[in-house]
C-alpha cells in the first residue's frame, strides 16, 4: 500500500490505494498435502483450494462461490515442482502458467499445450493462473483441456484415503464440475511423453487479444499408427474427447469431411452471448480441416 500527502487548498488530503475485502472466509496457508487434505475434509465441502485464484477470487467477488475456508496451496513444495523429461512430465499444481510457457523443455516437448496456455487470459493473469486451476475450474472452454485430453494426461490427487490417479478423460463431469471429492487436492498433472506424436491446438475467439474460446480444439496424430485423436472445447458441458480415429491419408479432403461429421455428432454447442450454436457449428469443420492440414502436413513429412 502506498500513500502520499498532497496539499490541496486548506487541508491535507490523503491519497491511498484502495482495497477490497472479498468475503467472510478463513484463510489457511497449508505447508503439506496432508495438511491440505485434512483441512478440506474438516470443512466438509465448504472449502476451496486457492492456487492462482484467477477464477476463484472473481467467483467469490461475484458471489458465485462463498467458501468458508480458503486453502492456499502455493506454499507446498511438492506442488511447485516441474519435471519435464523423455519418460513423461509432472506439472505441480501451483506452478504458474508463465513458468511453463517460459520453460524451453516444456515448450519443445508440448508445443500445442504451450500454445493453448499462451492463449489463456493475459500475461499478468498467466503469472498467477495454473494448469491445475484451469482444469479444476472445469470450464467447458478451458483452453488446456483439449490438449491434455489428446495427450492422455492424468491428474494426480491425494485425499484422506490416499493418492489416486485420474485419467483426464474421466476428470470432467459437467459445467464447472469434476470427479474430485471434497477432501481431495490436486498434486500434479502427469503428461506422458510420446515423441512420435504431432500435436496442434486451435482456438476461435472474438478478438485477437485475450478472450474465452468460442470453440477450441486439439489434435494429436501418430504417423506410425496412423491414429488421430481429437478433443473439442466450448461445445458441450465438458470438453469432449473423440474415440481414436484411423486416418485415411489417401484423400485428406474427404477424410476431413468424415472427421467433421464425427465431431458435429459428438458435441452439442449452445447459443450464448459469445456466439450462436450456428456459428460454433460452422467453425467446427473449419478447425477440423485446419488441424488435419497442420498434422498431416507435418506427419506426412516425417
Amino acid at each position: 500500500m502506498r500513500s502520499l500527502f498532497c496539499f490541496s487548498g486548506f487541508k491535507f488530503v490523503r491519497f491511498q490505494r484502495g482495497f477490497i475485502v472479498l468475503g467472510d472466509f478463513e484463510y489457511k496457508r497449508i505447508r503439506s498435502i496432508d495438511e491440505g487434505c485434512h483441512c478440506l475434509a474438516e470443512a466438509a465441502g465448504k472449502a476451496a483450494v486457492l492456487a492462482g485464484g484467477t477464477d476463484l477470487l472473481v467467483e467469490i467477488r461475484n458471489h458465485l462461490k462463498s467458501p468458508k475456508v480458503l486453502i492456499d496451496c502455493k506454499n507446498v513444495d511438492a506442488l511447485k515442482q516441474v519435471h519435464v523429461d523423455r519418460s513423461g512430465s509432472a506439472i505441480g499444481a501451483s506452478v504458474p502458467l508463465n513458468r511453463l510457457i517460459e520453460n524451453r523443455a516444456f515448450h519443445t516437448t508440448y508445443p500445442a499445450l504451450a500454445t493453448a496456455l499462451l492463449s489463456i487470459g493475459t500475461y499478468q493473469l498467466r503469472s498467477r493462473a495454473t494448469l491445475a486451476g484451469n482444469i479444476c475450474n472445469a470450464s467447458p472452454a478451458a483452453d488446456s483441456a483439449p490438449v491434455l485430453l489428446v495427450l492422455d494426461a492424468s491428474v494426480e490427487v491425494v485425499g484422506i484415503r490416499g493418492p489416486r490417479s485420474i485419467p483426464i478423460r474421466d476428470f470432467f463431469v459437467g459445467v464447472k464440475k469434476t470427479v474430485l471429492t471434497p477432501d481431495e487436492i490436486v498434486v500434479s498433472i502427469q503428461i506422458p511423453q510420446r515423441a512420435d506424436l504431432h500435436t496442434t491446438f486451435l482456438k476461435q475467439q472474438r478478438i485477437r487479444g485475450h478472450d474465452l474460446a468460442v470453440v477450441n480444439m486439439a489434435g494429436a496424430y501418430s504417423p506410425g499408427e496412423r491414429i488421430l485423436r481429437l478433443a473439442i472445447g466450448s461445445c458441450a458441458p465438458t470438453p469432449v474427447l473423440l474415440e481414436p480415429i484411423k486416418v485415411d491419408v489417401g484423400n485428406v479432403a474427404s477424410f476431413a469431411g468424415h472427421v467433421a461429421e464425427i465431431v458435429l455428432s459428438s458435441v452439442s454447442p449452445i447459443s450464448d452471448v459469445r456466439a450462436s450454436s450456428g456459428y460454433r457449428n460452422a467453425i467446427l469443420p473449419v478447425l477440423v480441416k485446419r488441424i488435419l492440414h497442420n498434422l498431416l502436413a507435418e506427419g506426412g513429412a516425417s
Partner: protein
C-alpha cells in the same frame, strides 16, 4: 519575416508521462479522506417497473451503516440540457441496472452487506426497447411527465406525451422535388448498437457536505465548472459554496462530461452528518448503471444525377437515448447539422429524433454522434456510387464541400475550413486506390479496400467560453491555471508549448498542475468537443500577451526605454537597439528593485479568455444558422483481409488524413490519431451491447464485451496530418481529438463490400455476422 517556432509544432513529450509511468499520479479512486464512508448500490433488476415498496429497515440497523437513501426523499431533477434524471430512481425504474437505493457505510463491505438486506417490491410496467417502436403513439411512455421538464429553451424541442425528447430538423432547398427529378435514387437503412466508453478509471466521486450550506467534491470528471454549476442549481447553493476538485482523471471519452455520481455522493454525505462519502462505480456498474453511447437507427435517401452529383439527400436519425436524454438531445442536434456528411447538397431534409427507451441511457462519447451518422452516410455514398457505376472516391470528389459552397445549415464554406478533398486524395494515394489488392497467400482469404470521409465541429452552446491565468514565478517561469481537464488527451502539454512560445521562455519553466480546483482555477465550460486546445490555446496566447505587457511596462521604467522599443527573447526583456542591456524576467516577475532599493511593479499575473464567436441558435423549423466554431475534415482508407471460413477480419493497413490546421505537437497528435483509430476499430468490429427481450443487459463486463487490445492493433497504420490553417485558431490549429475514431467503421464496411461483394449495414462487423452473411451468399436460404 515570421519568427521560427521553438516549441509549437515540436514533438514535446507529455508533461504527465513521468507521474503516470511511475505510478505517482493520484486519481479520485485513490482518495481517502479521514472518516470517509463507502457506498454500495441496490440496482433495478427490471427494465421498466413501478417501485411499490422499499424495506430498508434491516439495512439501516446493520452496524456501520451511516446513510440509506432511496429516490423518494430526493426531489431533484437534474440535467444540463434536459432535466429528466433523478439522483436515484423515484417511483419507477426505467432501465435494468438503474440505482434504486444507495447505502453509505464505514466500509464497502458493510455497505454491500446492507444492500443485500434491502427488499424492493416492483410492479412490472410495459417495456419499450426499440426506439422506432417507442415513437408510436401507443408506445409505453418512459417519461409521462416530459412536458413538465425544464430544458434549454429554443434549442431543444421535446414533444409532450411522446417518447421524443428532441426533434431536430434541417430543411434546405426542396428535397421531394429534387429527389423525384434525380436520375438515380437510393434508400438504405443502417444500425449502430449502444457501446461503452470503457475508461480505465471508472466513474468515482467523493463529496462532503460542509456546515454553512457548503460542499466540497473530488471527482473524476471532464467538467469541473459544469459540475459546480449543476450542483449549485440543483441544491440551491451559491456557486462559491460548491468547490470541485478534479485530480488526475483516468480517461473520459465524453462519458464524464456531464454530472455523474457527484449528486449522489453529496446527498449521502448530507444524510450521514457531513462525513465525506465516496461513490465508486464497479466495472459492471460502469457498463450497466452509468451512461453509454446511444444506439442509432438511420435511413439515408440519396438522389443523384447521372454525372455523379448529389441533388437531394434525406436522413432520418432515430437515436436510442435510453432512459434519460440529458446529453442525448444535444447529440441528436449535432448529428442533424452535420447530418449530410462533408458534402455540398442543395436539397437536404434531416429529421433527428432522440427517443426514450427502457435501456441504459446515452451520453457524449468521442465523436458525439458522428461515428454513428457517418456509418450510414459513408456506406450510402459507396452504395450510390456503385449504383451510378462510378468509383466511390470519384463520386465523393464530385460532391465534397469546396470554396463557395454552403453547408446544409447555410454556412459559407471557405478555404479557411480546411481541405476535405486533400484529405481524400491523401488517403487514396497512400492506399494505392484504384489498384486491386494483391491476392492473399491463403486461398480462403480475400482482400478489399475501402475509404470514407469524416467531419465534425465542436457541439457546444453559442456562449461557450474559457479563461486562463498565468502567474509568473520568482525564477522567471510560470504556472498556467486552467480548469479544462487533461484526462489523457495531452492538452496541458500543448498549452505549455504555447505559453513557452508566447512568453519566450524555456518550456521547462512552464508548469500546469494536474488538479483543477474551482476555488482557484478560472472558468472553463467543459473539456469536450475537441475544443480545449483551440479555446484554451487562444486564451493562453492572450494571457501570455498580458504578462508580457506587464513585463514591458516595468522594464520600460527599469531600463528607461520606451515600451514599444523593447523586445523579448529567452526569458529576457531588452531594448531592441541594445540587446546586451536586457533584464531577465526573474528580476521583474515579483516587481523590479532599483540599485537604491526602490521597487516598482509587483507580482505579474496574466489573464486570457476566449468565447465562441458568431454562433447562432438554429432555426427550429429549418435548422438554418451557424452552429460550428470550426469544422475538422478527414478521411480514412483501409485495406482488409477476410477469412471466409471464420469471418475474421484482419486490418492490413489503415491510413488516416486529418486537416489539423496546424499540428501543435506531432507526437501527441499522432498518438491521438492512433488511439482514435483503434477505438474506432472497437466500434467497427466488436463492440455493442446485447439485451435480452426483457431489456436485461447481457454483456455488461469485460468477459463478454470485448474492446481492442494491444494484439488487435493493425500492423500498419499511417497518419497524414494536413495543415491548412484555421483562421482564429491558435497558430492556425483546429481540434482533432475525436475525429480519428469517426468513419473507421464506414471505411471497413466499404472494404468488406470490395472484398466480399456483400453489403453490411449493421454494426459491429463481428466475425459471426460476417460469416453468417458469407454463408447466406453462398447458400441462399
Amino acid at each position: 519575416m515570421t519568427r521560427e517556432l521553438s516549441y509549437v509544432g515540436k514533438p514535446i513529450p507529455r508533461a504527465d508521462a513521468i507521474d503516470k509511468v511511475t505510478g505517482s499520479a493520484s486519481y479520485t479512486h485513490d482518495l481517502c479522506l479521514p472518516g470517509m464512508l463507502h457506498t454500495a448500490l441496490v440496482l433495478s433488476p427490471h427494465a421498466s417497473a413501478r417501485i411499490v415498496a422499499i424495506d430498508s429497515q434491516n439495512a439501516e440497523a446493520l452496524p456501520g451503516v451511516r446513510a440509506v437513501l432511496t429516490g423518494r426523499g430526493l426531489c431533484y431533477q437534474l440535467g444540463l440540457y434536459m432535466q429528466d434524471k433523478c439522483i436515484l430512481a423515484r417511483d419507477v425504474v426505467r432501465y435494468q441496472g438503474e440505482a434504486v437505493v444507495a447505502i453509505a457505510a464505514d466500509t464497502l463491505d458493510i455497505a454491500k452487506a446492507a444492500c443485500q438486506l434491502v427488499e424492493v417490491q416492483y410492479d412490472l410496467l410495459p417495456t419499450v426497447l426499440d426506439p422506432r417502436e417507442a415513437m408510436d403513439a401507443s408506445a409505453h411512455l418512459v417519461h409521462p411527465d416530459l412536458h413538465t421538464y425544464e430544458h434549454m429553451e429554443g434549442v431543444f424541442f421535446p414533444k409532450a406525451h411522446t417518447n421524443i425528447a428532441h426533434h431536430q430538423k434541417i430543411r434546405k432547398g426542396s428535397f421531394d422535388q429534387a429527389f423525384e427529378g434525380a436520375d438515380s435514387t437510393l434508400t438504405a437503412s443502417f444500425y449502430n448498437p449502444p457501446v461503452q466508453h470503457v475508461p480505465m478509471e471508472t466513474h468515482v466521486s467523493v463529496a462532503q457536505a460542509l456546515p454553512g450550506k457548503r460542499m466540497e467534491i473530488w471527482t473524476s470528471s471532464q467538467s469541473p465548472y459544469t459540475v459546480r454549476h449543476l450542483m449549485s442549481v440543483c441544491f440551491d447553493l451559491p456557486h462559491a459554496h460548491v468547490r470541485v476538485h478534479v485530480p488526475y482523471v483516468g480517461g473520459g471519452f465524453g462519458g464524464k462530461a456531464g454530472l455523474g455520481l457527484e449528486p449522489l455522493a453529496y446527498v449521502l454525505s448530507r444524510a450521514a452528518g457531513g462525513r465525506p462519502v465516496k461513490v465508486a462505480a464497479t466495472r459492471e456498474q460502469e457498463f450497466n448503471t452509468l451512461p453509454s453511447r446511444q444506439g442509432l437507427h438511420s435511413t439515408i435517401e440519396i438522389g443523384a444525377s447521372r454525372d455523379g452529383k448529389i441533388v437531394a439527400l434525406k436522413s432520418t436519425y432515430v437515436w436510442d437515448a435510453g432512459a434519460y436524454a440529458d446529453y442525448g438531445v444535444n447529440i441528436g442536434r449535432a448529428a442533424a447539422y452535420s447530418g449530410a456528411g462533408p458534402y455540398s447538397i442543395d436539397n437536404c431534409w434531416i429529421d433527428s429524433f432522440v427517443v426514450y427507451t427502457n435501456k441504459i441511457f446515452g451520453t457524449a462519447y468521442r465523436g458525439f454522434g458522428h461515428l454513428e451518422i457517418l456509418w450510414g452516410i459513408e456506406r450510402a455514398m459507396d452504395l450510390m456510387a456503385r449504383r451510378l457505376g462510378m468509383d466511390p472516391a470519384e463520386f465523393r470528389r464530385r460532391n465534397l464541400l469546396k470554396d463557395g459552397d454552403t453547408t446544409i445549415t447555410g454556412e459559407a464554406f471557405t478555404s479557411g475550413h480546411g481541405n476535405p478533398l486533400q484529405c481524400l486524395e491523401s488517403v487514396a494515394e497512400a492506399i494505392d486506390w484504384g489498384t486491386p489488392s494483391e491476392p492473399s497467400v491463403d486461398s480462403y482469404k480475400v482482400r478489399g479496400k475501402g475509404l470514407a470521409m469524416l467531419h465534425k465541429a465542436p457541439a457546444m452552446p453559442t456562449y461557450t467560453s474559457c479563461a486562463v491565468v498565468i502567474k509568473l514565478d520568482e525564477d522567471g517561469g510560470g504556472d498556467i491555471l486552467v480548469s479544462g481537464v487533461d484526462y489523457g488527451q495531452g492538452t496541458y502539454t500543448v498549452l505549455r508549448q504555447i505559453a513557452a512560445e508566447e512568453l519566450r521562455i524555456p518550456i521547462e519553466k512552464i508548469h500546469i498542475t494536474w488538479e483543477c480546483d474551482t476555488a482557484f482555477s478560472p472558468y472553463d465550460w467543459q473539456t469536450v468537443a475537441s475544443r480545449f486546445a483551440y479555446m484554451g490555446g487562444n486564451a493562453v496566447i492572450q494571457a501570455a500577451a498580458d504578462c508580457l505587457e506587464q513585463i514591458r511596462s516595468v522594464a520600460s521604467q527599469a531600463l528607461n526605454v520606451a515600451p514599444e522599443d523593447l523586445d523579448f527573447e529567452d526569458g529576457v526583456v531588452f531594448p531592441k537597439s541594445d540587446p546586451t542591456r536586457g533584464i531577465p524576467y526573474s528580476k521583474l516577475t515579483l516587481g523590479y528593485t532599483f540599485a537604491n532599493g526602490n521597487s516598482i511593479g509587483g507580482p505579474i499575473i496574466g489573464h486570457g479568455r476566449f468565447i465562441a464567436k458568431g454562433l447562432t441558435h438554429l432555426d427550429p423549423e429549418t435548422g438554418q444558422g451557424l452552429p460550428a466554431q470550426y469544422w475538422t475534415y478527414g478521411a480514412h482508407a483501409v485495406e482488409i483481409e477476410v477469412d471466409t471460413q471464420t469471418g475474421e477480419i484482419e486490418i492490413l493497413n489503415i491510413v488516416t488524413a486529418l486537416d489539423a490546421g496546424k499540428v501543435l505537437n506531432p507526437k501527441l497528435c499522432i498518438g491521438q490519431v492512433v488511439g482514435g483509430v483503434v477505438q474506432g476499430l472497437g466500434s467497427a468490429l466488436w463492440e455493442g451491447f446485447v439485451f435480452d427481450a426483457k431489456g436485461r443487459f447481457l454483456n455488461a463486463g469485460f468477459v463478454d464485451y470485448k474492446i481492442p487490445t494491444a494484439k488487435d492493433i493493425p500492423r500498419h497504420m499511417q497518419q497524414i496530418l494536413l495543415e491548412n490553417p484555421q483562421p482564429g485558431g491558435p497558430y492556425g490549429a483546429r481540434g482533432v481529438a475525436e475525429h480519428p475514431m469517426i468513419s473507421v467503421p464506414s471505411a471497413i464496411g466499404n472494404a468488406l463490400y470490395d472484398a466480399l461483394g456483400i453489403e453490411f449495414n449493421t454494426l459491429p462487423l463481428n466475425y459471426e455476422r460476417i460469416l453468417t452473411r458469407i454463408k447466406e451468399k453462398v447458400e441462399p436460404s
